[in-house]
Symmetry: C2
Subunit: 393 residues, 2 copies
């Protein structure tokens, strides 16, 4: 089934045409005997890219979790460790449920942060790695070794990070060097040393706001340049780029662009966020993600990156069609470029990772978010009519 | 069909029970021969209340409108008047499409602002009034006479407002007394005089931010008290209550509560918003609405007040179950109280306006937003499986 013809399809909302897939890639001409799928004039876009989530911690498929957690970041971190123990959460099962839901919505690539701490050790990384193998060919999963409970206050965590990277985690994660770690130098030196040792890129959660966030961001920029890691560092959330002092933010945009640091936004409605139009104007690669789905941090989310494009649009006050196309670009090509996906797109020669969406235009597809008629990964059908071809555990 | 038994239903997520509807109201005991509907253990909530929208201006059911409008409020107002002319938009047809969509999502009551200006006169009010009659028994529609293009810069508008109120519009509308009208005294004196003349309540759009909005709000409070209109004035949007100076906002909350002025929020992700938990703590009645749906102002929206509850939750950073229940309360009881709906609720004697929602808990219903299995208005089935029982034109 990786050789087929998509009839009556509108690539990126262009006029209807036929597209040919041969051996999992878009081809200039059909092969004889290829299966034909009538796309009914629907729009085809490349696969949606979930570039910031937490596959290991979703409570999907479990009884409803009654959230009564306190307001601080530390409250949520402590509560999560405790609930995971109490519920005996299985990271393999949960990540499989989560990834299958994402596939049903047209996702073909995920970057997931995965918790590492001195309590659960590498269990979550092992679980998500098992899911990655199990779902190979259906979705690609990148794993960020993520010290959710902090490295500096918990001796032994850095060694676990090191082991996770040796075992197959793809990126080094990090988290609020000041606000949570209380030791920006110690934290960032450790993160960058791990990246150098393992030759792996970096993705750091940065919730710190205003000047505290600017300080941490500058420390990240300096180390990125010093270590020659331009193009290999992402900053997730980057709330400090949503600060009211736009002149200070513009100066940071310039430095981020120069260091080729990428930004990943989840576009939360209740926090300051990077302004996606300004990031684009500054030449900064931007991707997006749903963040955690139905976990102890919050009850929201469904892994639908088309809904995330809408939320990026709502948060950034995008109303014009060209602006909504930018929101969609962030949730497709932006994330793919940051994840370094090779052969991404709808051109001849590209891998046939793609999804049919509903609407007259790309903007309509984003605001409508109808169930996905068809999702392909390397030309293989992974979801039909909003349901993944494999059942969740 | 206004006499029936709802079997195996969970009112407000309570344990499953049977509920009886006799002659359109919840009753203590069944009548013989009543039709029985098995609710499959689903949660029953009272009808969703759309307390701030614009039924006359949606482009639902028309070809996709490519939005290329400029960024200012005046750009959007001018663009809309021009597009309405160019498309020959029919307010009756559009409001019917919009209201039917709302019904399909479990809405039983709508407060709609309806444009009045010197160009289209009362055509939009007449159109929405025709829809109100046509859909009587399926949904209740309240009409706010709304001077979208301003009263002060457009002589003749106040007279049209007067005529609309005489004709059957239910409330006097208003709009940014400073920012748009450039004459707060003239605008508010006119609005309050119309309210006094017709004995009708007021609902004013207030987008003005920070101290400008505080000024206008204080002018509204003063007139409300002077005219003895406590409990009869709503302020929509009220972005100035989302200002960073929380001490100034808290002082206004007190005055609003004293004057029994209600707040209606659409919880936009890109603007400052009233903090719903603070409003509740201050004793201010709060409702919510989707604002315009798929119109020349913006492409978003689907009339789903369960989705709006989620967006209220996301914007206000509500994560705990009790907080999500507040978001749902705002989209049901809060709006109903502001609209002055009599006999609202699920108790014996209340009108059987209600909707089945999916989930183990109310919070799950809000984040899941699954298609509504059943919607009742006065005990009559108005929607099943996400579709209204009457077709849109």
């Amino acid at each position: 089934m990786t050789t087929l013809t998509l009839k009556n399809v509108r690539p990126m909302a262009a006029p209807a045409t036929d597209l040919y897939i041969v051996d999992g890639r878009f081809a200039a001409a059909p092969t004889t005997g290829a299966e034909v799928i009538d796309c009914g004039g629907r729009i085809l876009i490349p696969g949606l890219v979930e570039a910031h989530t937490h596959l290991d911690k979703s409570l999907l498929g479990m009884p409803w979790y009654r959230n009564e957690v306190g307001p601080s970041l530390q409250d949520k971190i402590d509560n999560e460790r405790q609930v995971k123990r109490a519920l005996a959460l299985d990271p393999q099962v949960q990540s499989e449920r989560h990834a299958i839901l994402a596939i049903s919505y047209g996702c073909t690539h995920i970057r997931s942060h995965v918790d590492i701490d001195t309590e659960q050790g590498l269990a979550a990384v092992e679980g998500v790695m098992a899911t990655r193998e199990k779902l190979a060919g259906l979705i690609d999963i990148e794993i960020v070794a993520f010290p959710q409970s902090g490295m500096m206050p918990r001796p032994g965590t850095a060694e676990l990070m090191d082991a996770a990277l040796a075992m197959g985690a793809d990126l080094v994660g990090g988290l609020d060097p000041c606000g949570l770690e209380h030791d920006p130098k110690g934290h960032l030196d450790t993160v960058f040393a791990l990246a150098e040792k393992h030759g792996k890129p970096i993705d750091i959660h940065l919730h710190e706001r205003d000047s505290l966030g600017w300080f941490s961001m500058q420390e990240i920029i300096d180390r990125t340049v010093a270590q020659g890691m331009q193009g290999l560092v992402s900053i997730s959330h980057a709330f400090c780029l949503g600060a009211p002092d736009r002149a200070a933010v513009a100066a940071l945009h310039e430095k981020l662009a120069e260091a080729r640091i990428h930004i990943l936004t989840t576009a939360p409605a209740s926090a300051p966020v990077p302004a996606v139009k300004e990031l684009k104007a500054a030449g900064i690669l931007t991707g997006a993600g749903c963040d955690g789905i139905r976990d102890t941090w919050g009850p929201y989310g469904n892994s639908d990156m088309l809904e995330r494009a809408m939320l990026v649009g709502l948060r950034n006050n995008l109303r014009r069609d060209d602006e909504l196309e930018l929101a969609l670009e962030i949730c497709t090509r932006g994330g793919a470029a940051i994840l370094g996906v090779k052969g991404y797109g709808l051109k001849v020669g590209c891998t046939a990772d793609c999804v049919l969406v509903e609407g007259e235009t790309l903007a309509e597809a984003v605001v409508t978010r109808a169930p996905r008629k068809l999702v392909l990964k390397g030309g293989r059908v992974t979801a039909r009519d909003g349901a993944c071809v494999v059942a969740a555990p």
